[in-house]
Amino acid sequence: MPEILIETRDLIKRYGDKVAVNSVSFEVYGGEVFGFLGPNGAGKTTTIKMIVGLLQPTSGTVKVAGYDVQSQPMLAKASCGYVPDTPNLYAKLTGRELLRFVSDLYNLDRSQVARRIDELLRMFDLTAAANDTVDSYSHGMQQKASLAAALMHDPKVLVLDEPTVGLDPKSARLIKDILRQLADRGAAVMLSTHILEIAERMCDRIGIINKGQLIAVGTMDELRTLDKTGQTSLEDIFLSLTGGAEETEIAEILK
């Protein structure tokens, strides 16, 4: 049985009267890529932020690599890498300085840091821009720098919010390959995406959240059995579970 590396139990996040995330429970195992899908405003980013310790849940628990994010935040965060949907990075640091900074935050051994930085810069094709400040990077380069920073400490758990947005096909492919390799090495990879083909092709299991509630979790085959309409593609299943009627209506208008 693979190790549970992300575990949420009855996770709730309220903003005043609004319930952003409502009693969400799921697990992500080591060695798997878990896709987290949902329409805009469904609660994906809020859930992810609670997992990586950026938001405190109103109630419920989150465990990362077996550590409770609220009571053992240091250990949980040290096991986790995070790539946000918008790569807000320190604009006035160079790519190399940024990675060195992250390595110090994670208390990495200095003797190995330089080699690790060079490795990551090479892997993400950022070596030529390593000594340029981040504000001169394109969106795609910043996204790659953000992923490099998340991988700096070789985390057991990697959480990515929309990792392929703004990336060219080559970079998107590179990221997909890296995530697969990480999972194959035993790490848990959780990613949210709107690109259902990516989720269908990459993810071992998929969770679908709608209006703050987790409405389905499982492998593609399990999701197919959940959907009573007998749909086979993830897109159809997703639309069927989250209410695809609106989309059909929009498509009619645009015809």
Binding site: L54, L55, Y82, N88, L93, R100, D104, L105, N131, T133
Partner: protein
């Protein structure tokens, strides 16, 4: 043909003015929406300020009308012994010249923002709106606030002059026409200047440099009064000499003066001269505006002044890894600090010094310090101890306290620097704060790193300033050492207060560093430190005065000063931070 464009869209209207009108209405709608959705207190504030400004305009009009009538009166001419008619006639030319140059300078930054950094240019240029209309709308949006501000002073003054001089009624509308045309010409030229600069520098860098230069010049202008007072008689200029200079500036050789001179001529009924001068200026300004507009839009559209030609900037100095030494921290201290603390300190020093917009806020205390050191050097650094009529014990104690009082200036300079570094220590992280929050850093380490980032430079500045003061005032080694200790402790307490309030009022959603201090909580911190500073420093020096007064050995004064001063400073350095430690864990979650 229409069907091939779209099922719904009509053939685009290529006329410029209706498009400009539409764009301006859109801006008006955005402004109105911002006002409508503002908090009630903000709405009341805006209405109050608007009414105040209108009242201020009327006040300037009335005052200039009254004053100008007075200086024209035979009584004043007889009393003052000089006729100011020629000087008064130069007011329109000077006002319009100031308006032109002021607009040229101030609209540069606004146009840079509007044309390159606002983010809506791509959207507007992709819509079927004439590019000229977009440019004109952007120009008008950029110059309107500055025009309104300058007009607030200029228009009542010129109207007051007209009213007091009994000028022809045509003078009034022509003043407005002249102002508008000159402002448009200045903005047009400014837009060309913006595009030339952006050709050489990336827009964000240009904005940083502009922000830096603006802040420094603004601060120096603000302090120029103090400096002028200090320089005293050296720069005194008599009224007659000043009038002479102003008259000389109103020469007919400068085309910028023609509009003002033309307005005066028209007001006085010299129709031919007035029409020639004013008409000439308006014609020249219109040509300049037209030329600038045509050139600017062509440059922008052809990509000549585009950002895409700018290559990525190399930070050559960072080619070598930034070491703690490079960031200004000694290796010894670096070894003492935990790695995450050192990393944040190092990162903060790098980001603070590389962003010129931050640097302008940090340089102002240094300028302030240099200026007051200069003033102190001129006065010989001797504290004024009155006329010596008080008893000897009082004079002795007072002299001692005053000697240390000047040392307090180091603390004031430090306060200025700490307000920025410490008060905004967390806010300066901005949208990047997630990197720290998602990392395994202890709250105590985070607070310690922010404390050090603010404390070290302030201590350095305080030390330099104290050394200069000590040399100027001839302080003994004991007095210097005691003052240094007092500064070290007082600054630590001040840092604790400001950092805590910085945590309480942290704002991570700014885009421009100058706007990171969004709330009022930071102001409370500054107010509290204004109370803390005399208390804490007073506890260091008051025992010295008491020791003298009670004829005890001065060593007792130093001892009690150290106990009381250090106690209170340490308390303020640590307790507020302890109080906000839980808050740190919840930062950026709202």
């Amino acid at each position: 043909m229409n069907a091939s464009i779209s099922s719904f869209a009509h053939v685009p209207d290529a006329r410029v003015l209706p498009a400009v009108w539409k764009l301006l209405l859109l801006r008006l709608r955005i402004t109105w929406n911002s006002f409508r959705h503002a908090k009630l207190s903000n709405k009341i504030g805006i209405i109050f300020i608007t009414l105040m400004l209108l009242g201020f305009g009327y006040f300037i009009f009335s005052m200039s009308n009254l004053l100008l009538r007075f200086v024209r009166s035979p009584e004043f001419v007889q009393y003052a012994g000089m006729n100011l008619q020629a000087f008064l006639a130069s007011i329109p030319a000077l006002t319009l010249t100031t308006l032109f140059i002021g607009t040229l300078i101030t609209s540069f930054g606004v146009l840079l923002q509007a044309l390159y950094l606002s983010g809506d240019m791509d959207f507007l240029l992709a819509t079927p709106v004439p590019i000229r209309a977009v440019f004109v709308a952007k120009l008008l949006q950029a110059i309107l606030p500055n025009f309104a501000f300058i007009s607030l002073f200029g228009l009542p003054l010129l109207f007051g002059l007209g009213a007091s001089s009994g000028y022809h009624f045509l003078y009034y509308p022509l003043v407005i026409v002249a102002m508008i045309v000159l402002v448009l010409a200045a903005a047009g030229l400014s837009s060309l200047l913006v595009m030339l600069v952006v050709r050489v520098l990336p827009p964000r860098r240009a904005a940083e440099i502009l922000g830096f230069a603006g802040a420094i010049i603004g601060f120096m202008c603000g302090q120029s009064g103090n400096l002028a007072n200090s320089l005293g008689e050296d720069i005194q200029i008599s009224g007659t000499r000043l009038t002479g200079i102003l008259l000389l500036a109103n020469t007919r050789w400068l085309p910028l003066n023609w509009a003002g001179q033309g307005l005066v001529a028209l007001g006085e009924g010299h129709w031919l001269t007035g029409t020639l001068l004013l008409g000439g200026t308006l014609g020249l300004a219109s040509v300049a505006f037209g030329f600038a507009l045509a050139t600017a839009e062509r440059w922008y559209y052809s990509g000549w002044a585009g950002m895409q030609i700018v290559t990525r900037k190399k930070v050559t100095r960072s080619a070598r890894p930034a070491s703690p030494t490079a960031a200004g921290i000694g290796h010894g201290l670096a070894r003492l600090l935990p790695k995450p603390v050192l990393a944040i300190v190092q990162k903060d020093f790098l980001t603070l010094t590389r962003d010129l917009r931050n640097l302008s806020q940090l340089v102002t205390p240094v300028i302030f310090g240099v200026m007051y050191t200069f003033i102190m050097l001129r006065s010989g650094g001797e504290p004024s101890a009155g006329r010596g009529e008080a008893p000897d014990w009082f004079m002795e104690s007072f002299r001692l306290v005053l000697a240390y009082g000047n040392v307090g200036m180091s603390l004031f300079v430090g306060w200025m620097l700490l307000s920025r570094l410490s008060g905004m220590g967390f806010s300066q992280e901005g949208r990047n704060y997630w990197m720290l929050k998602a990392s395994p850093i202890r709250t105590s380490h985070l607070l310690a790193s922010k404390f050090i980032v603010a404390y070290l430079p302030t201590l350095g500045l305080g030390f330099v300033f104290l050394t200069i003061i000590s040399v100027v005032q001839g302080l003994s080694l004991l007095e210097f050492s005691y003052s240094l200790l007092a500064i070290i402790m007082c600054l630590a307490g001040m840092n604790g207060i400001l950092l805590s309030f910085g945590v309480a009022g942290a704002n991570f959603t700014w885009d421009d560093p100058r706007k990171m201090n969004a709330g009022v909580i930071g102001c409370f911190g500054q107010i509290l430190t204004m109370l803390y500073l005399p208390l804490s420093f007073g506890l260091f020096i008051a025992p010295l005065g008491f020791a003298k007064f009670l004829s005890y050995p001065i060593a007792y004064g130093y001892l009690f000063g150290l106990i009381f001063g250090t106690g209170i400073a340490l308390g303020f350095a640590l307790i507020p931070l302890w109080l906000v430690r839980k808050r740190v864990e919840r930062l950026a979650e709202e």
